[in-house]
């Protein structure tokens, strides 16, 4: 299939893609029984869904990051509280030592205040702490209660002035308890800090991950959008390309081809219409070819028939001429009195026979000429001829007729005309036809022949003072068998072929013929022929 022109315009990557499984996908999309409108809508919907999915994913990432940041904040807060606990513990130690040193009972209330702060903060911490830390907090609380009991013992010993006991309690019970609590709180802080560090790492990791996810999503979206666009657009372009090649075939006159597209959409419908059109075109083309063939054979038969007609006419004309020769010959020798004297009463009918015999001869000659011209079998016998001579011949042969009718009959040939080249005898025939007509249709006045040279053209003019030609007949005057009306044929005689033959002969010489006429005043027939003509065929 000569669909190369379309394929050549396809970029090589597209050709490769169409050869891959993607091409199968393109055809599969084309096969989907849905309108172009729906397919395009689906394509745009796919892109929109991708954007929505991408937005959802990024929202989820933002929410996750916020949650982790929140956890970090909480852990931070807990570390703060732990530090407060440590501080409260240190203050308790400080005030306990103060109470012991100053033996001031009011220090106890300060210790209690610090103890309350410790407990409050610890309670807050316990509420906020993750479950695995609660045990440690319970231990701390237990330690604190021990410490408070020791503080109470110390306070009692101080009030009872048992300083040694107080000191002992402080050193053996209070200090180790506080150290233990301090250690436990430190553990708590350390645990929280570990948690914070892990959260920070986790946030950083999820940040990186979300960036990667977004980038990946973007890349996938672009690829999916490109593929979707490719698949949908090529599912439309493929049938259009097929149609392009198909239409080129049609334009080149090769009908009847079929376009095959997988599409079941508007393009599929279009392809079906095109196939239908192609079949119809093929049918019309075949019909037209058959008609042309019929016409050609008819034409051949017509040409044959025309040839047969011409041959028949030529033969007929010869067969007619032989008896006519006898008729005219006998008439003439009778008139010449070779058979003895002609009685006066017989002379006129003999002359009538002679006149009609000659008329019949002219008719036969004209019919033969025309049939030869129409069959394209008349050739000009070109050679040198003298214009002066042929005009004189024409003048001489018709002089007696003019004389009989009492018409002035003059000729004027320009003296500067050189020897001409053409068929002199045919030109004479033309001139005789025109002059014969002029004499025939003129009752009184004159008939003149005028020949002059106009550049390379010979102009022959035959003017008369005859009956003239009506304007509406001038156009038809050169057609076969045409005389102004049939009464003229009866009155003036003639075949109605003379002008037609003259026109053909002039045209064979490469010239043209024309007439100027005024009804009742006269006519001027003129024809032009090249001074030198190679001669052609009719």
């Amino acid at each position: 299939m000569p669909r190369t022109s379309a394929a050549e315009r396809t970029p090589p990557p597209v050709v490769a893609l169409l050869a891959s499984p993607l091409g199968a996908l393109v055809r599969a999309v084309a096969r989907i029984r849905a309108s172009v409108h729906v397919k395009l809508l689906a394509g745009f919907l796919l892109i929109t869904l991708l954007f929505i999915a991408m937005t959802a994913v990024s929202l989820r990432t933002v929410a996750e990051t916020a949650r982790q940041t929140n956890l970090l904040d909480e852990a931070h807060e807990r570390v703060g509280w732990s530090r407060q606990i440590e501080h409260a513990l240190a203050m308790q130690m400080h005030f306990t030592a103060m109470a012991l040193l100053a033996q001031a009972e009011d220090s106890v209330s300060l210790i209690l205040r610090e103890n309350n702060r410790f407990n409050d903060t610890l309670a807050r911490l316990e509420t906020a702490a993750p479950p695995e830390e609660r045990a440690l907090i319970q231990v701390i609380r237990g330690g604190q209660e021990d410490a408070m009991a020791t503080v109470a013992d110390i306070a009692n010993a101080v009030r009872d002035r048992r300083l040694a006991d107080a000191m002992t309690a402080l050193q053996t019970r209070q200090v180790p308890t506080y150290r233990r609590i301090e250690e436990q709180v430190s553990q708590l802080v350390a645990a929280e800090e570990t948690r914070m560090a892990s959260l920070r790492r986790s946030i950083a990791a999820s940040h990186t991950q979300s960036l990667r996810l977004m980038a990946g999503f973007a890349v996938v979206s672009v690829v999916v959008a490109l593929l979707g666009g490719f698949v949908i657009s090529w599912s439309f372009i493929l049938p259009v390309r097929e149609a392009h090649g198909f239409l080129s075939e049609v334009a080149e006159g090769r009908f009847g081809g079929t376009i095959v597209v997988p599409n079941r959409d508007e393009f599929g419908a279009l392809a079906e219409r095109m196939n239908w059109m192609s079949r119809e075109l093929r049918r019309f083309d075949d019909e037209q070819r058959v008609a042309a063939e019929t016409l050609r054979s008819l034409n051949d038969r017509l040409a044959l028939a025309s040839r047969a007609k011409s041959e028949f006419l030529a033969n007929m004309s010869h067969e007619l001429r032989t008896p006519l020769n006898a008729i005219l010959g006998f008439t003439e020798i009778m008139l010449d009195e070779l058979y003895g004297e002609v009685p006066p009463a017989l002379r006129e009918p003999l002359v009538d026979i002679q006149i009609n015999g000659r008329h019949l001869l002219r008719l036969i000659n004209d019919v033969l000429d025309l049939s030869k011209i129409e069959a394209g079998r008349l050739e000009l016998g070109v050679g040198e001829y003298s214009v002066q001579e042929i005009v004189e011949v024409a003048h001489a042969s018709l002089k007696s007729l003019a004389l009989e009718k009492g018409l002035a009959f003059n000729l004027r040939v320009a003296p500067d005309i050189p020897t001409a080249w053409g068929d002199g005898r045919r030109i004479t025939q033309c001139l005789l036809n025109l002059v014969g007509n002029a004499l025939k249709f003129t009752r009184q006045g004159r008939v003149d022949i005028d020949v002059h040279l106009d550049g390379e053209w010979l102009v022959y003019r035959v003017s008369d003072t005859g009956i003239g030609i009506p304007k509406d007949e001038v156009e038809n005057i050169f057609a076969e068998f045409r005389q102004v009306d049939t009464t003229i044929t009866r009155e003036y005689g003639g075949t109605g072929l003379g002008l037609s033959i003259t026109k053909r002969l002039v045209e064979m010489h490469g010239g043209r013929i024309g007439v100027e006429s005024e009804l009742g005043k006269g006519s001027t027939f003129f024809f032009t022929v090249p001074l030198r003509t190679d001669g052609g065929r009719a």
Partner: protein
């Protein structure tokens, strides 16, 4: 002087009759033939002084007979007038090409025919 002989080769009886009538009042001796073969035979036997040859003849066409007569040294120089069927059809040129001394278009005027005969065979 011996009477001069004219051979008229023509298949149409009436046309032969015209020439017969034309020559009846002259001293020319007339020979007649109705087809090309007979005409050729009479010409070669009698060696006439002038031959009038029609173009369309049965058995052997006038032009072929003319060529044969021109090819025969005995008849090659006898004046020969071909009576053509129609002057404008090209018969005249073919007649001259075949070797005719002159041609006469049919239908001819008996006066023209006599003038032609006198041209080739002047009166004593």
């Amino acid at each position: 002087m011996k009477d001069r002989t004219v051979l008229h080769i023509e298949d149409n009886e009436y046309n032969r009759k015209i020439v017969r009538q034309l020559l009846s009042r002259t001293t020319y001796r007339l020979l007649e033939a109705a087809d090309g073969e007979e005409g050729l035979a009479v010409a070669q036997r009698e060696l006439p002084d002038l031959i009038l040859m029609d173009v369309q003849l049965p058995k052997l066409s006038g032009l072929d007979a003319t060529r044969l007569l021109r090819a025969d040294p005995r008849t090659a120089n006898i004046p020969l007038v071909v009576v053509t069927s129609f002057a404008l059809s090209g018969d005249d040129r073919r007649a001259m090409d075949a070797g005719a001394s002159a041609y006469l278009a049919k239908p001819y005027s008996p006066r023209d025919l006599m003038a032609l005969i006198h041209r080739f065979l002047p009166d004593n």
